[in-house]
Symmetry: C2
């Protein structure tokens, strides 16, 4: 079950002027399931994104990058679940192009003005005819106040839909930011996430939008991991419709970055809280490092260790496993004598071993919680990094051994 | 249960002249369990080893390195299970020194002539008084034909003891090599292994012995992984007593390397076959790479992927997960159009996607086997690498969530 994560409430998700969303049941893998989403954008919107670095990146990622690079106004995004259209070779590229061309025909725009996304099983042909057949239903369903259903339509092994809204006052006017994400397994984003869509009615130029999405991704989706597997289909898109009339420029971009990062962080953390089989949400803070790279190396060594993750599942303060992970993280000049390890407020280790003040009962108390912070103070520099992950349970194995996701 | 791995047969393990082994039940963590091993060497033996690169390396690793560097004849090795004496700070170092000093007193040698090893739980104080109390029992038990019991004495979560003997004719005389290893979880050796001890009666100089152990480790223990966790206590030791009278030099060292590597490979593979919760033994061959580093990057990305490992546990040919792992391995200029993926003899993927000839039934047939080979042909160079790993099962989670190892 998701860890301290509630589903969004339909009425609390704010529409973003210039964005409408339509859902269909296209029967791509299962019948009677929302599996097709069309996001239509008003003319004059800007769109920027970051994508997976996986060399086996999916066909829709290739085509979405091409269409973004073509520089035309983007008028629609189309997302299917049930099939990732990844590891599908040239036929997969053609299927993604056909999807864009057919939707463009129905919406009266060019194929290059449509961006495609897919998520689901890898290395199976995309049933493009089902997607095309579902498009009229999705278009008939298009409306601005549809983020709740849209967040449900992009779920795969997700248990809870993930969406959030925020508003911020800039230049005396209200700017709205609403976003949604999906993802539960194969989560170790690298310059991107599983699927995330954030829209704002701020007026943001294309180059600035690209900067914003990159910075926000680095502080949110690029700081989470469930199982260390980087997906073939990761994409985080940021849409700016400009309908609020608030122009974002160098004087106020930091306000925009702050609110977009907040939304992105909540969406990214929601993916971890709903991680496959998760029973614990674990925040890993690495402090006092020489640079961000070494902080993240140590943080991800802890976050990816099956031994650490199973100990958290068991609520067993077998914390020597964290020391082992710190030790093999690849920071070759790390001095283990000077670092400190904390579990929440409890000092666990210092001077290369267990702290004299440490009591097993204190570790046990923290391990029982569902939200836990591991803090490693390196005492070798001024850089900090924070990551989020979850534990490793029977259910992770069950989900991935019994369901072809 | 171990995958196609039989326990060694007592009578088939050959003594190595100059080496005697004695076992005791010292009650270090459990009572009525062999948990202390003393290996005594005749004067004139040489010993070389490779150790973990974990920065939190255990106290016995620190002391064993020091004593080897001191350059005196090594006369004994002492191994305890039940406690790793790792993450124990200065008190741990003192405990390892005391262990060596006490054994030296009983055997009539210097503390620097004794090498200590520990394996078990991390970050708990070593009960050195129990080890000392068990020493007389181990010494009384010393005999040459004791490798079978010794292999049992060093087990922790291992189900099956691991030991093997080989003989080779060099310069017309017989040289014997016998080795043993232990390890089941926290297995991703880096320049070493969990614990491995190989002895030969060949006469090998110290510098040559060091070369041999390094080369043999690189081709065996450094090619296995169970869970990607590099232990704090890894050590592989090679002992040469010289009792065969066969001098190993530059003219015949390749024969010696071959037989030592064969023994080391069998011992390393035995660790994977007995990997925690393992139900499948998986050989990963990466062929046609530009260099060894990129072959190992791709091989370990596959070997460490929880999604790949759970698919093998389920015997589910969800082989797109292997493509995803290849894609995120970090080989940034990898061309996915030109590589081929095979499962045993079955061509699974080429031209960036599923092979036209691939049938799910063929994949399913191979996935049912207990020994499976994944072969990735990169077609970008002439270098090959082979790794060995196992699948990821409910029992891995069970073992590590319910037992404080």
């Amino acid at each position: 079950m998701p860890v301290n994560l509630s589903a969004p409430v339909a009425g609390q998700l704010l529409p973003v002027a210039g964005v409408s969303l339509g859902i269909a049941q296209a029967g791509i893998k299962y019948s009677n399931r929302k599996d097709l989403l069309v996001i239509q954008l008003d003319a004059g919107s800007n769109v920027a994104g970051v994508f997976t670095t996986n060399r086996f990146c999916a066909a829709p990622v290739v085509v979405a990058r091409e269409h973004l690079a073509a520089g035309q106004d983007i008028r629609a995004l189309v997302v299917n679940t049930g099939n990732a259209n990844a590891g599908t070779g040239e036929a997969g590229i053609q299927a993604a192009r056909t999807t864009c061309a057919e939707l463009a025909k129905l919406l009266g725009c060019e194929p290059e003005q449509v961006l495609p996304y897919s998520t689901g099983v890898i290395m199976e042909p995309l049933p493009v005819e089902k997607i095309i057949a579902g498009m009229p239903q999705a278009i008939a369903n298009l409306k601005a106040d549809n983020w709740f259903d849209a967040a449900q339509a992009i779920m795969t092994t997700d248990i809870v839909a993930k969406a959030v809204s925020r508003q911020v006052q800039i230049n005396g006017k209200t700017v709205t930011v609403t976003g949604m994400s999906k993802g539960s397994g194969m989560i170790h984003p690298n310059m991107a996430t599983m699927l995330g869509y954030i829209a704002t009615d701020g007026a943001i130029s294309q180059p600035l939008l690209q900067l914003l999405v990159k910075d926000a991704a680095n502080a949110s989706f690029n700081c989470i991991t469930v199982d260390g597997d980087t997906s073939t289909n990761d994409a985080l898109m940021l849409i700016a419709t400009g309908k609020s009339g608030v122009v974002i420029d160098d004087t106020n971009r930091w306000q925009m970055l702050e609110v977009v990062t907040e939304v992105a962080t909540l969406l990214a953390q929601a993916i971890v809280r709903d991680g496959e089989g998760a029973t614990k949400f674990i925040t890993i803070k690495i402090e006092g490092g020489k640079d961000e790279a070494e902080c993240k190396k140590i943080g991800y060594a802890i976050a990816h260790s099956p031994l650490v993750k199973t100990a958290f599942f068991a609520s067993d303060p077998n914390l020597g496993r964290i020391l082992a992970a710190i030790g093999y993280a690849g920071v070759t000049d790390l001095n283990v004598e000077t670092l400190k390890l904390y579990l929440d407020d409890v000092l666990v280790a210092e001077h290369g071993g267990r702290a004299a003040s440490y009591q097993e009962a204190d570790g046990q108390r923290v391990m029982q919680q569902s939200d836990i912070t591991i803090r490693v103070v390196l005492n070798r520099g001024a850089v900090n990094a924070t990551l989020w992950t979850c534990d490793f349970s029977y259910d992770y194995v069950k989900i991935n051994a019994s369901y072809r996701s």
